[in-house]
Structures are given as C-alpha cells and as structure tokens.
Symmetry: C2
Subunit: 409 residues, 2 copies
Amino acid sequence: MAVNLHIPAQEDIFGVPGIEIGVTEAGVRKANRRDLTVFRLAEGTSVAGVFTLNRFCAAPVQVCQAHLAQAGNGIRALVINTGNANAGTGEPGLAAANATCDAVAKLLDIAPAQVLPFSTGVILEPLPVDRIVAALPKAVAALGPNQWFEAAHGIMTTDTLPKVVSRKVQLGGKDVTFTGISKGAGMIRPNMATMLGFLGTDAGIAPALLKELAREVADNSFNRITIDGDTSTNDSFIIAATGKSGLQVNDRAHADFAALRQALVDVAAELAQLIVRDAEGATKFITVKVEGAGSTEEALKVAYAIGHSPLVKTAFFASDPNLGRILAAIGYAGIADLDVGGVNMWLDDVWVAKNGGRNPDYQEADGQRVMKQPEILVRIDLGRGNVTDTVYTCDFSHEYVSINADYRS
Amino acid sequence: MAVNLHIPAQEDIFGVPGIEIGVTEAGVRKANRRDLTVFRLAEGTSVAGVFTLNRFCAAPVQVCQAHLAQAGNGIRALVINTGNANAGTGEPGLAAANATCDAVAKLLDIAPAQVLPFSTGVILEPLPVDRIVAALPKAVAALGPNQWFEAAHGIMTTDTLPKVVSRKVQLGGKDVTFTGISKGAGMIRPNMATMLGFLGTDAGIAPALLKELAREVADNSFNRITIDGDTSTNDSFIIAATGKSGLQVNDRAHADFAALRQALVDVAAELAQLIVRDAEGATKFITVKVEGAGSTEEALKVAYAIGHSPLVKTAFFASDPNLGRILAAIGYAGIADLDVGGVNMWLDDVWVAKNGGRNPDYQEADGQRVMKQPEILVRIDLGRGNVTDTVYTCDFSHEYVSINADYRS
C-alpha cells in the first residue's frame, strides 16, 4: 500500500567511494531473509549519529553512543540486524551487542570500539547473537562497493519496499556523492532521529562539524515525520563522510558549506518521507504545514496533534472531509492562550475554516475532491507569529491494525 | 462490541427527586432518533460543571460557562442535542446555542441564563437550530420524574448502549439517591471532563462546595479515561444537587461529607468506565495502574503514553503479548531522568519485566493467557516514589477504523 514510493533503478544508485557493504542471511527471526548487513568505512571517514531519546533505548543504541564517544573519528564499521531490536533486554542485551562488535572487529582487524551496532525488530526478546556471529564471515565476504540497494533490503521489517536515495552534486569543482537508506514502517515518531537512517557521502567533513550537521539534518528530515506517535527504542541516524571525492569542508565559513548542508538535508528528508510513504497500512501521504506560529514548538505541537489524531487519520483513510476533527486537534494541541478566532485552515487550495469557524464559502464537494487524492496538504495559519514548520504523516487504515495485530506472527 | 457493559433494569434506576427529564425526536441529523433531551431542575438545586480545555471548545460549552457564572445557584434547566456538536461554528454557533436557551426559557418560564445547553455529534457543521426549537415543546411535554434511561439513549452518538448508573446510599439518616448518565464513544481523552456526563442527586450541597466537588469528582473519574487521545471540543460534566432528600452538606466538616464525596466519585467513575467499555470498536477493557511514581504527573504521563499507543492497543486487540511495546511507551512518556533499571511490569499476576529487562522467569504462555481476557490489568512500578495513579482505556480494533471512517455517512 505504499504511497507514490518509487525504487530507483540500480544505475541511479551511486556507490560512495570509501564505503563497502555486505549483506547476508543470518536467520535472526525468519529463514531465507537478508537480515544482516555490514558497512566497512575507509580509514579517515568521519562518522556522526543521533539516537532515540526513548529511555528504554536499545542495547545497540547504548553501545553506539559509547563507541562514538570512545573512538571519535575512528569508526570503521557498522553492523545491522533486522528481526530483533535487542531492546528491553537488560545486561544480556548489552553483552550481545558487544559480542557482535567483537566479532566484526576480529573479521575486519579493527578494535571493537570502532564498530557501531544497530538492531531493529521485536522488543523484549533475547538477541540470537550466536546466529549473527556465525553469519558475519559471509557478510564480510560479500563486501562490495555499491550494495546500497541490498542493504536497504537487509534492514527492512514491515517495510514493503526498500528505501534508497542517491544524488551526485557538483561541489567545489568535485563530483560529490550522497547515498542513503532508511526503513520504517511502524513505531515511527522519531525524537532526535529515526530507526534507521544511514547516509554516506564522499565529501570530507571535519568530525566536529559533522556532529553538528547530523543533528541539524535530522531536525530537518527524520525529526519531522510521524506514523503512529510511537517513538522507537532503536532510532538511529548516521552520517558517514569518507572524503574520497577530494572535497573537504571543515567549518561553516567554507564556500561549499551551505550547498553541502542542503544536499545532506535533501537526501535525508527524502529518506524520511519514504518511510511515511511506506508507513504501515498507509494509503495517503499527508503534509501538515503550520504557518503563523509564535515558535517552532507551537508549530510542532499543532502539527503533531493533527498527525497523531486517530480520528483525523481515519477520516483521511475514508476520504471523508470530516474536518472538524482537525480543528479539535488544533484546540487540544496545548497552546493554552490560542485565540481560535485567528485560525484559518486550507486543504490544498480549499479554504475550509475562516477565523475559527466554517468558511461560509466552503463547499463539501471541494473538500471531498481533495480528500480523495493520495497526497494531501493540510495548511493551518495560527495567526500568532511568523514561524512555519512542516510535519509529514499518513492515514490510519484497517491494514495498520492488521499489520500490528499480526506483527510477531 | 461493548466489553462487559450491563444495562441496569428499569427498577434499578432511581429517579432523583427534584429532577424531571423529557426526551424527544428533533431530526437533528437523522430521522426517527431520540436526539433532544431536556432536564428541569427544582428551584434551589445547586449546579456545578467542568468543561473541556480544548481551545476550540464548542459554542454550548462557552454558553454554559457564561450562564454558570451569571446565574450561579439559579440554573433550572439543561438542554442536550446529539447529532451535531455545534463546534467550530463561530458566531452563528453561539447564536444557535443562545436561541436554544431562549426557547427553553420561554417554555419553562425562566430566564435564558438559567438554562445550560449541550451538544454532541459532528464538528464544523451548522446546528439546525430551527428543528431543535420546533421540537422543544414536545420534549417539555414529555417531562417526567424518572426518564434517566431515555435520556441516556437521547445523548448517544456512536455508543452502542445507553449508560446509566444509579445508587441509593444512607447518609445522615436519609435515603440519598445518585443517578447519572454518560456517553462516549470516540474523541475521548477528557481534559477536565468528558462529553457528556450528568449526575443528579437529591442531596443538598452548597454551591461553593459543589463547584469544588465537580472538579474533584471529574479528576477521579472522567479525567482518568482515554479511548483515542482526542480531547473533544464538547466535554462537559455536570452535577445537580436538588436537596430534596433532606440531607444538606455545606462544607467539608459535615459528618457525611466524606461519604457523600465517595458516593459521587463512585457513580462518576462507573459512568466514566462505562464509556470505555463501550468505546468505539473496543474488545478489551484495560486498566493501566502506575505505581512508584514521583508525582501524579509522572504516573499519568506513563499511563497515557501506554493508553494512547496504537502499537500497544493493536497488540491488545490481537491478544498478542508483544509487551516490549509497553516498555517503549514507558520510555518515551517524557520522564527525562527515568532509570529503566528500576522499572517492573506485570500483566495481571504475571511478572513480565524485571528491573528494566525481560524477567528471566517470564513465560510467553503466561502473557498469552492474560492477553486473551476481556479485562486486563497492566501494572507498572517505576521505582521512583510513592505515588500511584490509574487510567482506564481499551484496545484498538478494525472496528474502530471502520466506525471512524464511516461516522458521518
């Protein structure tokens, strides 16, 4: 049921010089499924990441944070399994994540702290670490220069399609590559990042700057989507910059900084939106744009209230312009002094609510026309200030219930 | 699909001396449906209410607040329509609510400010006030001493069954009656009150005390339930105390105050829980009890995060003990310094999570057994303090999606 989600052709996916990827089957949860992925990063690659703020953050997230703090610039490998989140697993979970790093390190002749581990799948079940360790030599043997598509497959859970975005951009006279992958498709309300996004580039970016950029890029991409409001235990977004293009950007004063930042944001935003397009059971892709807010916090409160309302989401599923539900969500979003008389709402080009009430010129047929589209823009003007922000979400269907009632089966 | 919701027999519903009720058909939205209810309250009745905090609060809510402020102790009538919420309707909506009060006042020979209006149904559509005004004489003609059951019918929207709770309690040597009605069954996450609860008693309660009690009773009943997290535009909870029993309580020092308060809380809590039992599409009644919290706010953050998670709710629907989803919800509930190592979780008597991880003794078969029950207790110990609080909610089914995709059809 993915909404306008197109997979690029293999020739449109550019390998990133300095990054090799290998994918294999480890039988983590199901047989005959590519579920184990290894990234090898060239020496000198800068790596930065942002991670979930969920207090029950998974064991691999804790290990990632420790290794990034220890190894700093020296991260040389990523290892990712699907089928099991290794979350809610306590000390044995940490031991399993560390054992995975140890095994990768031995195979690649690096230190365990140079490996970042990632897991996705069911929570509260022990990670079958022996099966992962046993399959790692196959993943390492499969390492090759452009296996992004295979990796996008290898990290899927309830995703129906693999998610890859790839661009080449001329920066500072160099051809610079940006390629990334992501996965959803439920428990998605990233708070700092999403499970899982990986973005590689052969631009060179100084580690301190990349650390700042990882946060900024996440805030403009993964931190602006929601499927079900459930912030995952495993959200992780990683940028790896190998420097192999010859472009090296060390600070914001660099002539190519703005274009580089924009390229990273563009690729990450597209990866994030692909998650929404492939959201569990989604039939509609909804853009919620809040204008006239007094602050970013206000804009996001309203956008997320709309994006999380089961009543709003089921109305979209039904193509029913029951738009009072959107007003109700604005009203309970938590802006205590909101003057509803200043609120206006449009559905694409249709002006639905005017100064807090139904626009006298609004015709239900016009609302109906827009609601039937697969892509819909909800635009709100709060009439309080100059801040605009946008969140991407989806509808709520029978299929969502089916998928999440059956997920472990 | 109501969960263990039993309608009392007519002989178990006690009329409240001093309160007459009349119900009729006005054709607000559908023909042949009792959709208009009038309460007449005896002179001297104390009335207090609490209302939604939704900033898009409906026109009748605004009028209720104004009339309670003006008329104080002198409220003599309530008028309630279903089929249309008169919310998001701007100035014409206020005019319609006022016109309804005017018409009731004329028929009952009282002032318009002595009437409280209530509406429930679809938002953002004009109230067909002419049809309501035309039908009011029939409702007034139907006024009788014990029509609570008919009124419970007359305020239903997507409710499958009418909700009435009635008790007689010996207080101060008097037989005191408490009878109330409520309705749900979607857009339910009361923030101060719910749409709609009415509780009548023939106890006499001083107006100032009743005002305090309305808030306290709501906080211990309607403000502890959630169905879909959508706080309605129309939530209203009203207590009317006629004094006809001869018992008169004017302050908290009265010998019968504690028992009176408890009787009000008991009836209101049962009315609130009936809404959850008849929640849209519900197949399970879930009690979420959070112990060991540092504050009420913390306990409620955790309880509502669990109660609102679509992933948790679909797992209950499926009877699937995918209980890591509950840990994830605890983790993102917003307690920034939560030490997950102190968290324990039980499903009824089954100890699932121990010190932040899977209890080594937990057997999936035990979780499965509890998940299959129609009533389930989720008990969390946060290990942070001594505060306990409880929220009541339900599962999330295909039927919820169907109902809310079709609600206006």
